[in-house]
Symmetry: C2
């Protein structure tokens, strides 16, 4: 049975929370075995758990706040616009991509593709 919209929404909300204030392993726990990550779209696709952990480990120590702006769900796919604000001393850097995720029947992420460009990073 395909993942329900409720199950997909729950994974997306957990993902945003884990990216902002969890560990890389908290994020990894939301991914299925064999999952892929392409962030941003057009960059090399990460296909191993180690390379995905490496990606999230970079932002693990940063002080961040995240907010879900818009979430749409259809079948096994979610697309969502979210805002991630990183504090660096007196400065902040905000990035607000639209992520595209596919999910397995248990609601785990099987692929993540993030759509954003350099112009979507805002220093404040």
């Amino acid at each position: 049975m395909a993942a329900s919209p409720e199950s997909i929404r729950s994974t997306v909300e957990s993902y945003i929370k884990a990216v902002a204030s969890g560990t890389a392993d908290d994020v990894l726990a939301l991914y299925a075995e064999g999952a892929t990550v392409e962030d941003p779209v057009g960059s090399p696709v990460r296909t191993t758990r180690e390379s995905i952990r490496e990606f999230y480990a970079i932002i693990e120590p940063l002080e961040q706040e995240a907010e879900l702006v818009t979430l749409r769900i259809a079948a096994n796919t979610a697309a969502f616009h979210f805002r991630l604000v990183t504090k660096m001393g007196d400065q902040t850097v905000e990035i607000a991509p639209i992520d595209i995720m596919e999910f397995d029947d248990a609601g785990r992420i099987v692929s993540m593709r993030a759509v954003w460009g350099p112009e979507d990073m805002i220093a404040g």
Copy 2:
């Protein structure tokens, strides 16, 4: 050479305008030969020009207004949240999906996948 972000943005803006107030052929003109349409994601993929024209012909006679809310671009891919309001007498029906599009080097649409569910249609 891949389509520039400016070229992709221009196609998305033309698409939204054509969906709201153009003809089915105006929309079709933005699609590359061999393009596919899956709206919503999970429904049968339209793979012929005839089936894609049929899809847009349904909404051609409706009185609609559309607005681009958020657009993100990476490489040959755009993801955008837009709002389409259809007037039906005294009533309106609003639908605001997130669409995912891929583009060829000339900035024409090669695939469109719309992410939305029944809960994203709002009668007003």
